[in-house]
């Protein structure tokens, strides 16, 4: 790919050599709807996932708007209390199990992982497609519960309420069980791919940091998800057969359910955030035009986070009556999580320091990620402290913390990654100005929505309540207003992204000047990824990458070529 001579061809600039060659791009080869539904190409499966999870995000977002609208005034506003309970349950369940867990790994990861690794595909392409179909089946079960009486337990399905309440608990837990399978297969596939399909020269420490993050994520997906599987099965037999293990009326132990649930669900929130941290590592380096600072520390901190994720589940249960010793140990372990997280944050700061920062849309999202995830992480320390947690437990403070980490962290990073890889995936550029405006609207709307929730939470507003005292009204007004603003932002983003698919400028192979392997192939990539095993170098060395006016993108060129 490196060009030193003067006769430039399109291929030398990273594009396809000819029109004929361009028809080999994965979007148009082979043709037909059916070829998409039975595709084994990781890039196409990534797009199938992307369509599905964005649909789930839309549905979950609509529920969020209904919740916020209901909370505009104390007492009934638009729906009754039972409907409200179903709204927040489905908002949580859809956003978590259908959108955010598969979001980055299965959609963006599926597309990017083999390309960044230099492989032709993931290790098990058929398993990859299977996991997408499992997602569809799981989603069908979840949505079925919506029309079949709804679920009103909250996304946590705590016993004994979940074994007694009327409502479609069985279908939604069955949905979670099947979605778990989907998640396991994705994780298993990625682990084997990273272990066995690295081309010559791609050593562990030449891997892009996004792959380290996906690797850590996959470990958690494989090792934690089976536990939610058996938990959901036990909950189902508890409801259908009267099993008694979690039912205090039968001598069972409901706190055992909480332990099982959080043994999965704490790693699950790291499954959500860790790939987001990986995207950040890519973007901060590329858009600072500077080598990533502290590569090995960032790489290992991903693995450390994956390990720690299994050791802190008890901090969700401080007031549950578990022993003082357990509380103490879980609290102490929770504080240690801040070490690998802070390593990443400070290394990104150091990467930006004296860099040539380019404020393109992905970088704007990355900067807002740093701010929002910073707040989300630091408020986590409040909740990890035993005494403070007694006051803040089950208040809006927890809701705000969770959304700052999961939305301010993962969703913002997902948007950053979406904008970063969009030209590579679809071969089209979106409108940069609208992109920046969208990022700004989301940032402002998000802070309006959730900063106010920190305030009302610390003043005692409990989470999941339908009604509230008048003194909280002002905070709820701000919060609801912010959520409407975010909705405007998301419709704007959806608008210009869809527009770009039809009318967008053709994307060069390397619009941002990245040096990971996906930027070495044309946009969109050919269906076979790489004709021959790619030459692997330092993924964060930008010295041979230069802006080329002719294609309005970056090209790979040895130092004597220009500059």
């Amino acid at each position: 790919m490196n060009v030193t001579d003067t006769s430039i061809t399109p291929a030398d600039l990273g594009g396809y050599a000819s029109r004929e060659a361009e028809s080999e791009n994965f979007l148009s080869y082979p043709k037909g709807i059916l070829s998409w539904l039975v595709t084994l190409d990781h890039k196409r499966i990534g797009i199938l996932y992307l369509i599905c999870i964005l649909t789930a995000f839309f549905i979950g977002g609509m529920f969020a708007l209904l919740i916020r609208t209901e909370l505009l005034t104390p007492g009934p506003t638009i729906v009754d209390a039972d409907t409200y309970n179903q709204l927040f349950t489905l908002h949580g369940a859809i956003m978590i199990f259908l959108f955010i867990i598969p979001g980055i790994p299965a959609a963006l990861g599926n597309f990017a992982l083999p390309l960044m690794l230099g492989a032709k595909d993931v290790a098990f392409p058929r398993l990859n497609l299977t996991s997408w179909y499992l997602w569809l089946i799981g989603a069908a079960f979840t949505v079925f519960s919506l029309v079949n009486g709804g679920a009103d337990t909250g996304w946590t399905f705590y016993t004994p309420y979940s074994t007694q309440t009327d409502g479609a608990i069985i279908s939604i837990t069955m949905g979670v069980f099947i979605l778990g399978f989907s998640s396991i297969l994705t994780g298993l596939n990625f682990l084997v791919t990273i272990h066995r399909l690295r081309p010559p020269g791609m050593t562990w420490f030449k891997m892009p940091l996004f792959l380290w993050a996906i690797y850590g994520t996959a470990i958690m997906q494989v090792l934690a998800t089976p536990v939610i599987g058996i938990t959901m099965l036990l909950l189902i037999v508890e409801r259908t057969l009267g099993f008694g293990i979690f039912d205090p009326a039968l001598g069972g132990d409901p706190v055992l359910f909480q332990h099982f649930f959080w043994f999965y669900s704490h790693p699950a929130v790291y499954i959500m955030i860790l790939p987001a941290l990986g995207i950040m590592s890519e973007i901060f380096s590329v858009f600072s035009r500077k080598h990533i600072f502290g590569y090995k520390f960032i790489a290992f901190s991903s693995i450390v986070l994956a390990i720690l994720s299994f050791l802190v589940w008890g901090h969700h249960m401080f007031p549950s009556g578990q022993s003082q010793l357990a509380n103490f140990v879980f609290s102490a372990l929770t504080f240690t999580v801040s070490i690998p997280t802070a390593i990443k944050m400070f290394n990104w700061l150091a990467t930006m320091y004296k860099g040539e920062i380019v404020l393109k849309t992905p970088m704007l999202y990355a900067l807002s990620f740093m701010f929002l995830f910073g707040i989300g992480g630091l408020t986590g320390l409040f909740l990890g402290a035993l005494a403070v947690d007694i006051h803040l437990h089950d208040t809006y403070f927890v809701v705000a913390h969770f959304h700052y980490v999961m939305f301010g962290g993962t969703v913002i990073a997902f948007l950053a990654g979406l904008h970063y890889w969009w030209p590579k995936v679809f071969g089209r550029m979106y409108n940069e100005t609208l992109g920046r405006i969208g990022a700004a609207i989301i940032f402002v709307g998000f802070n309006m929505t959730f900063l106010s929730q920190f305030v009302m939470g610390s003043q005692g507003m409990p989470r999941r309540y339908y009604n509230y005292l008048d003194e909280y009204t002002i905070y709820h007004h701000i919060s609801t207003g912010g959520s409407y603003l975010m909705a405007v932002g998301f419709f704007l983003i959806a608008g210009y992204l869809l527009h770009s698919l039809l009318k967008g400028k053709r994307a060069p192979a390397n619009p941002w000047g990245g040096n990971t392997l996906e930027w070495h192939v044309p946009s969109p990539p050919p269906y076979y990824n790489f004709k021959e095993a790619p030459r692997v170098g330092d993924p964060y060395d930008f010295s041979e990458i230069h802006w080329d006016e002719r294609i309005e993108g970056y090209v790979f060129r040895k130092a004597e070529g220009s500059a």
Binding site: A119, K120, D121, A123, F124, P125, L127, I184, L188, N189, L191, V192, H195, R196, L197, P199, P200, V222, L223, A224, T225, P226, V227, G229, I230, T231, L233, L234, V237, E238, L241, G242, F243, G244, I245, D247, A249, L250, G251, G252, D253, L256, F260, E532, A533
Partner: protein
């Protein structure tokens, strides 16, 4: 990197049909498949881990449920099933060897034998389950001991133990409960029960050999020695070292079912080989819930394993395997070994308690 072609030696450039295009070499494909299988087995272990964890929690907190409940499991059938599965693992491992050296007929026979062992295991499980269902020894709300099992649990000789049937497993037989309360109070020297009348109640409620005991002073816990009557302690309590018994004493004021309730009042059941001395514990249905949960999930895995073995036999008959390509046999057998291994843990944990 050029493709390294399979060792079928024919010299033509086409790769074998089992070779997938995104792998560079057969060994890379084999290593990937094997690693994927091991990871999948790890998820299976973690799926069962939830049930093992539930087992550990309930057994640690309520040992008596497990000691009482396990006597209704048939060790003989369990042991036979263990042997059947161990033998099936031998034939399974041997079939991989046969695949590696290209002994097709032997491989098919061995796979078939393995599948038959799985069938035998399920048949024996069917016999065991039928007995449990017949006796009403099921989980949670379905726990309704009848017939033989009921004799043991509310046996004639043990009428004092009260009725354990029904969902809540509470001791609910009126006068029996009153006797028990009296016995507890007497045995532990509660102030209200310190008088002769209470002691007498306990005495009548208790059975003969408890009353015949005479060595109470040394046996009584130091804190309560003053209020203690010699005759209230049964022989098996006295057999326990005094220091150890005093350590367990506070449990007596804990909730029902944790307590070694009035040893004097114990159920002594002896019917059809089942022998039980001591109080009938509460919530025995939890033990049967865990038993059915663990063996049921395991049984489902045996069935899945048999389907996989059948599929392997089908493909072997189609000549899909060769000494160069036997990955599915290897992976299917790995799965079978896991199914076997889980039973190796289930058998002692469920059948060989106490």
């Amino acid at each position: 990197m050029g493709k390294k072609h399979s060792s079928d030696g024919a010299g033509h450039a086409e790769h074998p049909k089992w070779m997938q295009h995104h792998f560079d070499t057969p060994s890379q494909q084999f290593a990937s498949s094997k690693m994927g299988m091991w990871l999948f087995l790890a998820t299976e272990v973690l799926l069962f881990a939830g049930l093992f964890c539930a087992y550990a929690v309930y057994r640690a907190n309520h040992m008596e449920m497990f000691v009482f409940g396990h006597q209704f499991l048939d060790v003989k059938w369990g042991a036979i099933n263990t042997c059947v599965l161990l033998f099936s693992s031998l034939t399974a491992a041997w079939s991989v060897r046969a695949a590696q050296v290209g002994q097709k007929t032997l491989m098919i026979v061995l796979l078939f034998l393995t599948m038959c062992c799985g069938g035998g295991f399920m048949a024996i499980k069917y016999v065991e389950y039928s007995h449990k269902i017949h006796d009403g020894l099921l989980w949670g709300t379905q726990y309704k001991p009848t017939g033989h099992a009921a004799e043991v649990i509310h046996g004639e000789e043990a009428h004092a133990a009260g009725d354990l049937g029904g969902a809540h497993g509470r001791v609910d037989a009126g006068h029996t409960e009153a006797e028990q309360v009296a016995a507890i109070e007497a045995a532990h020297g509660a102030k209200a029960a310190g008088d002769a009348k209470a002691a007498g109640d306990a005495h009548t409620a208790g059975d003969a050999h408890a009353a015949g005991d005479g060595n109470a002073t040394t046996a009584a816990p130091p804190a309560e020695a003053g209020a203690m009557h010699a005759t209230e302690l049964p022989a098996d309590v006295l057999a326990i070292d005094a220091a150890e018994r005093s350590a367990t004493q506070p449990a007596a004021i804990g909730p029902r079912g944790l307590v070694p309730v009035a040893e004097t009042d114990a159920a002594h059941a002896e019917a059809g080989g089942h022998h039980w001395e001591g109080p009938i514990p509460d919530n025995v249905h939890i033990f049967f819930g865990i038993y059915f949960g663990m063996t049921g999930l395991h049984g489902i895995h045996v069935l899945i394993g048999m389907i996989i073995l059948g599929w392997l036999i089908y493909r072997a008959l189609k000549n899909d395997f060769s000494p160069e390509y036997f990955t599915p046999v290897d992976l299917g057998v790995l799965y079978w070994h896991l199914v076997d291994l889980i039973w190796i843990f289930l058998f002692p944990l469920l059948y060989l308690i106490g």
